[in-house]
Structure formats: C-alpha cells, structure tokens
C-alpha cells in the first residue's frame, strides 16, 4: 500500500491534502464526464473525497488507491442520479449552461483533449453516456459496469452499441 495512504490513515498532518492533490484530477475527470455538468462534477468530486476520508481506515491496499477512489466516484454518481430521480428532478442531458459550459470546463481542465469527441459524449442520452464513459473511456469490463450501475448485462451492451452509433453519427 502506498506510503502516503498509510500516513493519511495514521493521521499525519498534510498527508490527506497530498492525496487529494495527487488524485483529484482523476476523480474530477470521471465525475465531469459522467455528469456532463461542471457544477455537479465539483459537488460530486467533493463528495468522493469526503467519503474517502470517512472510510479511509477501510482501505487495506487490496487494490490501488486510485481504483478504490474511482469506485467511490462511480457509486457517488449513481447515488446522486438516483436521488435526483426520486426527487423528481428532470434529468437533462447536460447541466445549466449546457454544452458550452461543459466544453469550457473540459477544455480548460484537459487542454489537449479532442473537443468534438468530448462534446459528442456529453450530448449523448444519459444512459448511453454513462455506459460509454465507464466502459470505453475508463475501461471497466461489461460485468463491472453492470455491477456498478445495477443494469442488466444485455442492456449495458446494447446501450453501449447505441452510444457508439450516436457518437459516430455526431462526429460525421
């Protein structure tokens, strides 16, 4: 297990801050792409680190710390989505400010990314976008995606296929 994680678990001053600085960009990336909404992504990112802080003792080094954080991020996103649906919030494709705000956020945060592709992903319907981001961008296996999202394996695959088709159409 990483020395820094151990030191944070022991409560060493500054260690958690360093962990944040080391991992925040990975966490923000996945939160931003899943939500397609920079403001929500900030809230989710904070949520992830708060949870990580609270559960830090339960991390035993069975995976890489970044992997552990990553799963927390995906779970946080899924929970947030479910709670938004329960509250009757209309799930938009992208957040306020729409695609423009998203484009700006992703481009300033990752200047050498392919903006047309990022925009096309953000413009996908939410279900397809979630699957594409988890599987095609982040590399989770189909079974993992199904487990994380609670969606049946067959549906995961068909949403991904549909998403890829929509992306290719959008990119021309």
């Amino acid at each position: 297990m990483s020395d820094l994680v151990e030191r944070a678990q022991r409560g060493e001053a500054g260690a958690f801050d360093r962990l944040y600085r080391e991992h925040v960009e990975r966490v923000y990336a996945i939160c931003l792409r899943l939500s397609a909404d920079p403001l929500r992504a900030e809230g989710l990112t904070q949520d992830v680190f708060v949870r990580a802080w609270r559960r830090l003792d339960s991390f035993r080094g069975e995976s890489r710390f970044s992997t552990w954080l990553h799963r927390i991020a995906v779970n946080a996103f899924m929970e947030d989505h479910r709670s938004m649906t329960r509250r009757g919030r209309r799930i938009e494709t992208t957040g306020p400010g729409g695609l423009e705000a998203y484009s700006i956020a992703i481009q300033s945060g990752a200047p050498d990314t392919r903006l047309d592709l990022e925009r096309a992903i953000a413009a996908l319907p939410r279900g397809a976008r979630t699957m594409i981001v988890l599987h095609d961008v982040e590399g989770y296996r189909y079974e993992e995606v199904a487990a994380l999202t609670g969606v049946a394996l067959g549906t995961v695959k068909s949403q991904i296929h549909r998403g890829r088709r929509l992306l290719r159409e959008a990119l021309g």
Binding site: P96, G97, E100, A101, Q107, S108, D112
Partner: protein
Amino acid sequence: MKSLASILLVLATAGTASAQDEVNRRIGIDAHAYIKVYLLEGSVRVVGWDRDSLAVSGTVATGRLFFGGAGKSAKLGVWDDNLESGSADLEVRVPATSTIWIKSHEADVSVSGVTGGVDAYSVTGDVRVAGTLRHLYAESMGGAIEITASAPSVRAKTAGGWITFRGSGDDLTLSTVAGTIDAAARRNPLRARIETVTGDIRFAGGVQPGGALAFQTHSGAVDIQLPGDLGAEVAVATIEGEIANGLRVAAGGERDLRGRELSFLTGEGGAQVTVRTFSGDVTLSASEIAIER
C-alpha cells in the same frame, strides 16, 4: 500601497538582503502549461505571448528567485513561508494558452493576454486581469480587484478592496465586505451573485432568459440598471432601506404594509432579479444604452 509595516520590513532586511539584481531568464514550455507564480512584495505583470516559452525579466532580490519547469508545468517567484524575503518587480511572459496560478502577499498582480484559466490570490496586493479566459478566480483580502475580462465563470472575492468588473461571463460571483462593487456586464450573464456587507453595489447589465441575478448587502446602497425591455420577475426586499423603482411594471407590484417589499414582472422572459438588503437603499432603473446580447 505599501503599508508602513512593510516598508519597515524591507528596510530591516536591507542590511541582510543584497542589492536588487536584474533578471532575465527563459525556458521552453508547453503551450498549455500550468504556471505557478509566487510573489511576496513588489509587482508582477503576466503577459501572454505566442511562443512556447516562459520568460521572466525585471529586478529581484539576489538569489531569491526560483524559476524552473518543463513540459506542462512551471513555477517561479520570490517567496518564503516566513514572509521575509525581498521584493521583486517582474514581467513574466507566458504562452497565451497557458493557465496561471498566482499567489501574492502584498505584490500587485496583473495578467493579460492569457486565454487559459487564471487563479489569483493576494493579501493586500491589487489584482488586475484582462482578456478572454477560460475561467477566472481572483481573491484578495485588502487589495482591489479589477477585471476587464470575459470568461464563462468569473469569481472575485475581496474584503476591504473594491471590485470593478467590465466584461462578460455566464456565471458571475462578486463579493466584498466593505469594498464597492462596480459591475457592467457587456453580455448578459446567466447567473450572477453580487454581495457585500457594507459596500455599495452598482450594476449595469441584463440577464439571459431563465437566468437569475441576486444582489445582497447589509447596508450598502444598491443601484441596478437593467435593459428597459428585459422580461423578468423582480423581487426586492429590505428591512430599513428605501426602494426606488424606475422599471416598467407589467404585472404584480405588490408591496407589503411596511412598503419594504416589492415584487413584479417587467415582462415575459422568465429571468429573476432578487435584491435583499437590511438598510441599504435600492434603486432600480432602466438603462438606455443597448446592451450587447
């Protein structure tokens, strides 16, 4: 703007610090680099240029400048945690598409010609940012913040200093304690939050359909000019202040019995304008100047 304390500090260390040295350094760097600048005292002017290099020139206390980096990341400046090193006056040239992060204690900071993001923090130094940026965050305790820039998201916070904003942004947050906020939006924001405790607020601009402008102060005077044809739901509430309304009332116009609340529609459009004060007077007027949509 040097306080007596800081002048004494400089004099006190003059014996130990060496004379000011000329500086002229340059390194190659990525066009989209992330550049951190630190300065305790003096001034720093960051200017974007179209070269993939980072250059610093000016005068600095001998041996105190650190300067280095490669690829996507670079750092430079004069700093120590005991706040004791000497001052510097620097001009820093950065790739126009880089992102800048600046921390100043008393040094005045200015940034222009940079299109990446800017984060600037100072204690008493003034912060000035100009240009078109991807995002802008400026924070000072005692210094003033002057923004003549456009960015989708603009956040400026100071306590004692003024904030002057001439620019545009979809999402504006401007906040002071005692300083005046003087904002003129060249293009309508989607969302703006403008707050002081005792500072006055002057705002001229519109708001996008479905957007919201929110003004809040304890005792500052609030002077808002909106486009005459803006369709919005306007709600003003104050405990002890006076409300003067020069906007056209299309519907509504309820006042409570104490005469200190006013809410009405100026037309269709679904935007909201909210003003809350404790004792600050509120003046609403229609601006004659056409605002760029």
